[in-house]
């Protein structure tokens, strides 16, 4: 049991290290204009992009870059997101959006993930403009 928990700790630490390294990698530069169309097709059903926009099924994404995760008032976040402990940066978004539950365990955003790296970069470039 002790041995298993040591292995498990090492495994988790390794995973966190990989995630950390991935987060530290520079994010591919995207095209914000194309990103707006990615936002429309991937995010707009559940998320507003407007200043003081409403909470729909998810919190507004206006001002998301730089915002501490899990802090939009009026949205009932999962405990995983509330305790994520980071602010959204381009790198965090690049790590989160392709596979949300891999970065934030227990997030309740039921989204399969944006796997296409070009679309991902474009979307992040667009989210950067929402401020």
């Amino acid at each position: 049991m002790v041995r298993f928990s040591t292995i498990a700790r090492r495994f988790i630490a390794g995973g966190l290290l990989v995630l950390g390294l991935l987060s530290a990698l520079p994010v591919q530069a995207g095209d914000a204009a194309k990103g707006k169309s990615v936002f429309t097709s991937e995010c707009a059903m559940c998320h507003s992009n407007a200043r003081n926009g409403p909470t729909i099924l998810g919190p507004t994404l206006f001002g998301v870059v730089g915002r501490k995760a899990g802090t939009v008032a009026g949205f009932a976040y999962s405990s995983g997101m509330k305790s994520a402990g980071f602010a959204w940066s381009d790198a965090q978004l690049a790590a989160y959006l392709p596979s949300p539950r891999a970065l934030v365990a227990g997030t309740k955003m039921p989204y399969g993930g944006l796997k296409n790296p070009t679309k991902l970069a474009d979307l992040i470039a667009y989210l950067d403009t929402l401020k």
Binding site: T40, S41, E42, A44, M45, C46, L57, A76, R101, K108, P110, Y111, G112, G113
Partner: protein
């Protein structure tokens, strides 16, 4: 073949009768196991009916609705198989009634707990599919399809936020209460 002794025949008759009785009990239990809350049966029928209607809409809306219909049918089948039946116990549990004949639900609630990630992935697939329908609906100015997509995505989130955690809690509650019974 040798003729069987009267004792043997009686034993065989007893075994056959016991088997029939047991089979009946299992049938009775499995019919109880597959009972579902009526409100959810109705909701699912409405969802499928509306989605079937959308498959006849022209262009991309019809195409996306058709893709979604197949996914919804499979998802609903999973829900009806083992996620929804334990919810039929809620009114009695809320009245403080717990009995051994509710123990059938434990296997299902355990399965929901074990399959949480798989269930989440199904909801993610449903939401992605509704997103595709929503985008097609916006492009086609099809308000009915857009409303359906958004509403179905909300239902999917509702399942994750409320329904499945409730099923798991029913299992935990039942297990505790049944263990405490003399």
């Amino acid at each position: 073949m040798r003729p069987k002794s009267p004792l043997m025949l009686r034993l065989l008759a007893f075994t056959a009768a016991a088997s029939l009785g047991l089979a009946g009990a299992v049938r009775a239990q499995s019919s109880a196991v597959h009972e579902l809350p009526q409100s959810l049966i109705y909701e699912h029928e409405q969802t499928i009916s509306e989605l079937e209607g959308l498959t006849h809409h022209p262009g991309a809306v019809g195409v996306e609705a058709t893709k979604a219909l197949d996914l919804f049918k499979r998802h609903i089948a999973h829900e009806q198989e083992y996620i929804l039946p334990p919810l039929t116990l809620l009114p009695d549990l809320a009245d403080g009634k717990v009995s051994q004949d509710m123990a059938w639900a434990l296997e299902m609630t355990d399965r929901v707990r074990t399959n949480q990630e798989q269930i989440f992935a199904e909801h993610a697939a449903v939401t992605d599919r509704m997103n595709a329908l929503y985008v097609a609906a916006l492009q086609a100015h099809d308000a009915e399809a857009a409303d359906f997509a958004k509403s179905a995505a909300a239902d999917s989130l509702n399942d994750l936020e409320i329904l499945e955690p409730t099923v798991i809690m029913i299992g935990d509650y039942l297990r505790t209460k049944l263990a405490a019974k003399p």
